[in-house]
């Protein structure tokens, strides 16, 4: 059972970067009727999103966030020991984007760099990876660069996904320090649910073909996409979420021996209003303790947790705070964590 406990590691600073290009969800597309769009937008509670321009990658968002982090924290970049790039929208199939960012950010050649390829759950897995590496002597500062350009992944003509996803990047500094005390992680994986969210074409199982890139009607609702655009079985995803996520949150609380009332903030993956409101009701949470970024940025996949910390917890993490993080998505992959923060620097949201 992947229940893990660490000491003396924590997040010391976060910044975010988003595209300047603002999408008003109500007028995003005229492919669907206005009343249909209005109903979807109001139910999912996502009114605005940010989309990158052609040619801008997840790594560009992460680069901007990292430069802001170095500047705003007055951080000596040569002190970074490890860089993790966390994304499913990398620059290339090879090499790993983390290594490109090592060079672009002027980090040391001594740095450990590799990518973590997970979707919405990824930030919690990356945080656990950083905490684990920080147990080693010689590793004191880990830079997590978490970026997604999901606007490039989904079809604007598939109503199941057209209005949900947005682009964002974040830079997160994780450091070793005794002040952080204990932290706890629950990490989970179930590949039998791989068809819930998937992109069938363009990999090595089903390589790119002209036919695969042709748009087709895929269901009785008239939704249109090609094989290299992602799809989501929303009912199955939501059902899985209802069955598994509250249980995982209770599991991590039990493992940490903490009462849910002792948690200062709950930072959840920003799937949509339907999902997040369910969790607030189910766990009987005070919504003031549950910051949200989905109304203004949509579901930014794995970036949603750090982005929500930047937009929702600025000036709130100066004193010692206990945070519960929970995220789930494509794989299926889901994770929860309880971490402590103290003097955590929350920087700006840079627009590029």
């Amino acid at each position: 059972m992947a229940l893990l406990k660490y000491q003396n590691a924590g997040i010391t600073g976060i910044t975010a970067a988003v595209p300047a290009n603002l999408i008003d969800n109500l007028s995003y597309t005229d492919h669907f009727e206005n009343n249909v769009v209005k109903k979807i937008v109001e139910k999912i509670g996502i009114y605005k999103r940010r989309f990158v321009k052609d040619g801008t990658c997840s790594s560009d968002l992460c680069y901007a966030a990292a430069e802001a982090l170095f500047q705003e924290m007055d951080l000596d970049r040569s002190k970074v020991d490890m860089v993790l790039f966390v994304s499913q929208t990398p620059d290339y199939r090879m090499p790993a984007t983390s290594i490109l960012l090592q060079h672009r950010l002027g980090l040391s050649r001594d740095v450990i760099a590799f990518d973590i390829n997970l979707g919405c759950s990824a930030f919690v897995f990356a945080l656990q990876t950083s905490f684990s590496y920080l147990q080693n002597t010689g590793i004191n500062k880990v830079l997590i660069l978490n970026g997604e350009t999901r606007s490039k992944v989904y079809s604007p003509k598939d109503r199941k996904t057209a209005f949900i996803f947005g682009d964002a990047g974040a830079a997160i500094l994780v450091e070793k320090d005794e002040k952080f005390g204990n932290s706890f992680f629950s990490l989970n994986s179930d590949g039998s649910k791989s068809s819930f969210i998937k992109m069938d074409g363009g990999g090595y199982r089903n390589p790119s073909t002209i036919e695969g890139l042709r748009e087709k009607v895929v269901d009785e609702y008239g939704n249109i996409r090609n094989d290299e655009q992602g799809y989501m079985d929303g009912e199955s995803v939501f059902s899985f979420f209802v069955n598994e996520i509250p249980i995982d949150i209770k599991r991590i609380l039990k493992f940490s021996s903490m009462d849910i009332r002792s948690i200062d903030y709950f930072v959840f993956h920003q799937a949509s209003k339907i999902v997040n409101d369910y969790l607030i009701r189910k766990l009987k949470l005070n919504s003031n303790k549950v910051p949200k970024s989905y109304p203004d940025y949509g579901n930014t996949s794995s970036v949603s947790v750090p982005l929500t910390m930047v937009t929702g917890l600025k000036d709130k993490l100066a004193k010692k705070k206990i945070l519960l993080l929970s995220a789930f998505g494509v794989g299926f992959s889901w994770a929860s964590a309880i971490i402590q923060t103290q003097d955590c620097f929350i920087g700006t949201v840079t627009e590029i």
């Binding site: 009912e235 939501f238 339907i274 369910y278």
Partner: protein, 79 residues
Amino acid sequence: MTIEQFSDLIYSLFEVTPSNEITPATDFKELDEWDSLLALEIIALIDEELDISLNGDDIRNVNTIEDLYLVVMKKKKGE
């Protein structure tokens, strides 16, 4: 829970459909107001009100509210 109560529970999710159009025999997926987001709301409602877990197939494989009621009752007994 009687089928009438169950039907009323499902009706609570609909905003514009008149109440007389929602009966146990209603093919709810044929209603103008039906969309896949309502399926998510049904899954959440049945979990919160009846503590029963519906999955995507449970919704896909039924037509009427009565069909759905029978699925829920079967799961309730199977606990």
